[in-house]
């Protein structure tokens, strides 16, 4: 079964390419996959017919107990045969129908994807897997309805179908999850019936599942989308919107009938909704003049009747359900395909323009005749048995049954009249006024309808075949208990036969007086005003307006208001959390970590500097003053890091601070001055101040409380112990960066490189701008020139030393790169950009590239040695430890250096 799904999915993928190469012959190849699947399912019939099941399963999300579990029983088999069998014919038909369409390949792909999804839906035993396939059919249906997307009608219909079935899908998902919880299993076959029925949410589950099924199967009031979906190409209408997809809802109802169909009102709802749908569909059908829409409404009717039949839950009712399902798929598929052929041949589907086609299209006409007889429920066609059993099933129900039967007689009579319209009005009588000269359609187009129509006749005439091989097993799967299946064409003069006779009589009357009937129906104006698409359009409009209101309330376009809200919520959460948690403040706790660390001079100075800098930044107005305050704050932090024995971090902070200030100052100098802070209202400022104070206090408090708690776990211990033996380095920070967590570092230097490239690109300019700025220094001072020369050289030397010793002593690639960049920037500032470039010889971007290659290369060496990516490898020539982490660190050095230089040179070289 999984192979069948897979094969169809693969042919869907191949379809566009194949179609481009082979034009309309591609269909014959693509039909092989469904045909093969059909053959396989046929071979399963003997197993399933005697009550056996075929199961297959692969784990999908084992952690949640979700498998792609497949289970083939009677009901699934019936559907699978319909899907693959009709699917094969449809693929062939589509090739001829759309032979001149330039997107035929895409059409095949969508169609096959749908086929795969639909097959998965009926085979899946797992609730969640079934749901996934269910949604996939909705998506495929959307794509197929919108296939002629140039037409706005198609787009609207596709969206409507997607919204309705998708919305129902949401309800279904909720229902299925609840069902799984209530039934204590995630397989349809393992659901605990007693547990579900006793569950408190039984009615909730029922409503949710029913919404899902009713939307999919176009029951009232969700039937809107189905007639509109007829804007799709005819193969789609024939396949999705009559034979298969719309039956998915009915399928699920049938599948769940043994579980849900107890005394909980399930049957009543199904009968009521199904019967109303059937009546509305039939009345609307007879009003149509477009053949395809007429068929669409009769499909709605049939779907209603099917739903109703499940609801009867009687012996005859369930048999009738299975019979009717099969009969309808056969004849309606045939009729749709034939109508498509008529449309193809004559260029119209309007009843008024058609007539007398049998002369031009004898084969199609014959197929339609057979299908229409089955549709009308005349003996000995399969449709007759289905109708007979349906009446018998309804009558079995008692008083309600009688009322429903009366309604059904009228409905079926209308259907019969509709069938008459399709055959008699189109193919017999006088020659119509066709836009095109009609001709018989090519073989693939009449083959499908013909085979299906003949199927309807054969199954009816030799009804003991389907009884033994198909119907029995399917009925057992739908019923709550064992059901005795016995098909017959003639069972004596029973009430059902009388009802049948009545139906035929009424139907002939309706057809004879069809104009009068239409006139009468047209009088109920109130009714037409209510039903239809109007409500839908208004609903959507209201929905959009509501969404717009909601969105513009929140998306007011003011970053500041968002921030204020965010800050207030976050700080309130912190305050409340701390209050509720009741953690003691610093020093007050009994934790050993609660001990306050002693003050040290650099620490105190650093903290005060950071504090003062930050405070000044908030108060200062001028932009250079702001930069200076930021610099002071950063320097203070560097001091603090030094005081708490983090020399690497301290050096990095120091270097970055220097570079930041230089960069910001250059930006301010080089680019046209932008306006400073415009005067703002006093009230606004006060609010901002309040929010920031609130937020700052929350953060400070959180920090105090957090450091007071003992450390959970001890990851660092591992790093400390393994640094020397494993990483061959004494500077644990550096070993972590270039060895233990080198992958992280690799990502980080890539970020740095990308940031530099982005900033430089945004600055614009590029090569020639830099060249025209040759030799123009920022500070033109002889004294500075003389002093900077040795200083810059020294800095570069120091950076190399830092790089080398970084593995064992404070230093490393990051710090080295930053120091080297600082040295070169001195040169740039003093001598101008061009001499600096000449001195460096290499372009910074080249350095960045070389650095990243170094780092990745170091990782690949590990990979080549058969170890995971970035594993450290070491050699010891002359007792000197050399390893790939050092190469990696060099890569870090070059990347950081190159990135900073790239940005700085670009800004320094930019014309003011």
């Amino acid at each position: 079964m999984l192979t069948a799904l897979f094969a169809i999915a693969v042919s869907a993928l191949l379809a566009p390419a194949l179609s481009a190469r082979m034009d309309d012959r591609a269909g014959w190849f693509l039909a092989l996959a469904p045909l093969g699947a059909f053959a396989w399912f046929v071979s399963c019939i003997p197993t399933v017919a005697v009550g056996g099941v075929v199961t297959e399963s692969i784990a999908w999300v084992p952690a949640l107990g979700i498998d792609v579990a497949m289970r083939l029983d009677g009901l699934s088999l019936l559907f699978a045969l319909l899907i693959t069998g009709i699917g094969t014919l449809i693929v062939l038909y589509a090739g001829a129908y759309l032979s001149d369409h330039h997107h035929l390949g895409r059409f095949y792909a969508y169609l096959l994807v749908f086929m795969m999804a639909m097959l998965g839906l009926v085979l899946a035993d797992d609730l969640i897997a079934m749901f996934v396939f269910w949604e996939l059919t909705s998506v495929a249906s959307f794509l197929l309805i919108a296939f002629q997307h140039e037409k706005s009608v198609s787009r609207r219909a596709a969206l409507q179908a997607l919204l309705i079935t998708g919305g129902g899908g949401l309800a279904l998902l909720a229902g299925l999850v609840l069902l799984g919880i209530a039934g204590e299993a995630w397989r349809f076959s393992e659901l605990d019936v007693a547990a579900v029925e006793a569950h408190g949410l039984y009615y909730g589950i029922m409503v949710l599942v029913l919404i899902g099924c009713f939307t999919k199967s176009a029951q009232i009031p969700f039937h809107l989308w189905l007639p509109n979906a007829m804007n799709a190409p005819t193969p789609v209408s024939a396949y999705l919107h009559s034979a298969t997809m719309v039956k998915a809802g009915v399928y699920l109802l049938a599948r769940l009938n043994p579980v849900m169909g107890g005394e909980g009102g399930w049957s009543d709802v199904l009968v009521l909704v199904g019967a109303s749908t059937a009546v509305v569909g039939a009345v609307l059908a007879i009003r149509q003049t477009d053949l395809k829409r007429l068929l669409a409404y009769t499909t709605v009717t049939v779907l209603g009747q099917l739903t109703m039949l499940i609801g009867t839950n009687t012996t005859y009712g369930l048999q009738a359900f299975v019979l009717f399902l099969l009969a309808h798929s056969l004849y309606k598929g045939a009729l749709f395909m034939a109508v498509g052929a008529v449309d193809h041949a004559t260029g119209t589907r309007e009843l008024a323009k058609l007539g007398g086609l049998i002369r031009f299209m004898p084969l199609t006409g014959a197929a339609v005749a057979l299908a229409a007889f089955s549709n009308a429920g005349l003996p000995p066609f399969f449709g007759f048995i289905a109708k007979e059993f349906a009446y018998a099933g309804l009558i079995e129900m008692g008083v309600t049954g009688w009322i429903v039967t009366a309604v059904m007689v009228v409905t079926n009579a209308l259907l019969l009249a509709a069938a008459g319209l399709v055959f008699i009005r189109t193919f017999l009588g006088a020659r119509g006024h066709y836009p095109r000269e009609p001709h018989e359609v090519p073989m693939p187009m009449w083959l499908g309808p013909m085979l299906l129509a003949i199927g309807g006749f054969v199954l009816g005439a030799w009804h003991h075949w389907p009884e033994t091989w198909l119907i029995n097993a399917a009925v057992q799967a739908v019923a709550r208990g064992a059901v005795d299946v016995n098909l017959y064409l003639w069972g004596g003069v029973t009430p059902a036969v009388v009802a049948s006779l009545l139906t035929v009589g009424l139907g002939v009357l309706f057809y004879g007086f069809r104009h009068a009937v239409r006139r009468h129906i047209a009088r109920w104006r109130v009714f037409w005003g209510v039903s239809g698409d109007l409500i839908w359009d208004r609903l959507l409009k209201r929905l959009f307006r509501f969404a717009g209101m909601l969105a513009s309330g929140w998306q007011h376009g003011s970053l500041r208001l968002h921030l204020i809200l965010l800050g207030l919520v976050l700080s309130s959460t912190v305050f409340v959390g701390l209050g509720v948690g009741g953690e003691p403040l610093l020093g007050a706790g009994a934790h050993p970590a609660g001990a306050v660390s002693p003050l040290s001079l650099p620490g105190v100075v650093g903290c005060l500097l950071a504090l003062a800098g930050a405070g000044a930044a908030a108060v200062m107005r001028g932009r250079l003053a702001l930069v200076t305050a930021l610099g002071a704050s950063g320097l203070g932090l560097a001091l603090f890091f030094l005081a708490v024995n983090a020399p690497d971090v301290a050096t990095t902070q120091l270097m970055v601070e220097t570079l930041t200030v230089v960069f910001l100052a250059l930006v301010l100098r080089k680019l046209p001055s932008i306006p400073g802070a415009a005067p703002e209202g006093r009230g606004a400022r006060a609010t901002h101040l309040l929010v920031s104070v609130f937020f700052g206090a929350a953060v400070a408090l959180a920090l105090i409380v957090a450091v007071n708690l003992p450390l959970a776990g001890n990851i660092s211990e591992w790093y400390l112990q393994n640094s020397y033996p494993g990483g061959k380095g004494g500077n644990v920070v550096n070993v972590i960066l270039v060895d233990f967590r080198a992958f992280d570092t690799l990502g980080e230097i890539v970020v740095v490189a990308l940031a530099a490239l982005a900033a430089a690109t945004l600055l614009g300019g590029g090569e020639h701008t830099e060249m025209t700025r040759r030799g123009q220094p920022e500070f033109d001072s002889v004294l500075l020139r003389q002093a900077v020369r040795p200083l810059a050289g020294l800095l570069v030397l120091v950076s190399l030393v830092l790089l080398w010793r970084g593995h064992n002593l404070p230093g490393g690639g990051f710090i080295g790169g930053l120091v080297a960049a600082t040295g070169f920037i001195l040169v740039v500032l003093t001598f101008g950009n061009y001499p600096a470039r000449a001195l460096m010889r290499l372009r910074p971007t080249l350095l960045v590239g070389a650095g990243l290659s170094c780092a990745v290369g170091a990782g690949l060496l590990g990979l080549m040695a058969g170890e995971p990516f970035l594993t450290g490898l070491w050699i010891f020539p002359l007792g000197l430890p050399l390893g790939t982490p050092l190469l990696f660190d060099m890569g870090v050095f070059l990347t950081v250096f190159g990135s900073v230089m790239h940005m700085m040179q670009r800004i320094a070289g930019r014309a003011t």
């Binding site: 003011s558 971090v649 703002e680 920031s692």
Partner: protein, 117 residues
């Protein structure tokens, strides 16, 4: 020490948020830079403060500082520099293209108006 650094972090956060709430881009950029400092120190402090302990493996050492937050913060500092550079350049570029320097859409200003240092 903990109290002191917590105040510094609180102050930096406060100033950062206050600057971010300004109407023009340059203070906002600096505010973000200050906020990133505060975040870095906060992260660092999560490894607890250790005065007078060794950062580097040494036979004579009695205890070590926590290396993991240090490694994390070190790279974070470099990356926040990159980020600051990108957003300041982006802000300038946006100003050059649109002649507007306000953070929020509603607060239009006359093109090129109100230039002041």
């Amino acid at each position: 020490m903990e109290f002191l650094i917590a105040s510094a972090v609180g102050m930096m956060t406060m100033a950062g948020i206050y600057l971010v709430l300004r109407g023009h881009t340059f203070p906002v950029v600096l505010g973000l830079a200050l906020l990133s400092y505060a975040v870095n120190v906060f992260l660092f402090a999560m490894g607890r403060l250790a005065i007078g302990q060794q950062p580097v493996i040494d036979a004579a050492a009695t205890g070590y500082t926590d290396p993991l937050p240090q490694a994390l913060v070190l790279t974070a500092i470099v990356i926040s520099f990159g980020m600051t550079a990108v957003i300041v350049v982006m802000a300038l570029r946006a100003y050059l293209e649109s002649e507007r320097d306000t953070v929020d859409l509603g607060e239009e200003e006359p093109p090129g108006g109100g230039a002041q240092q």
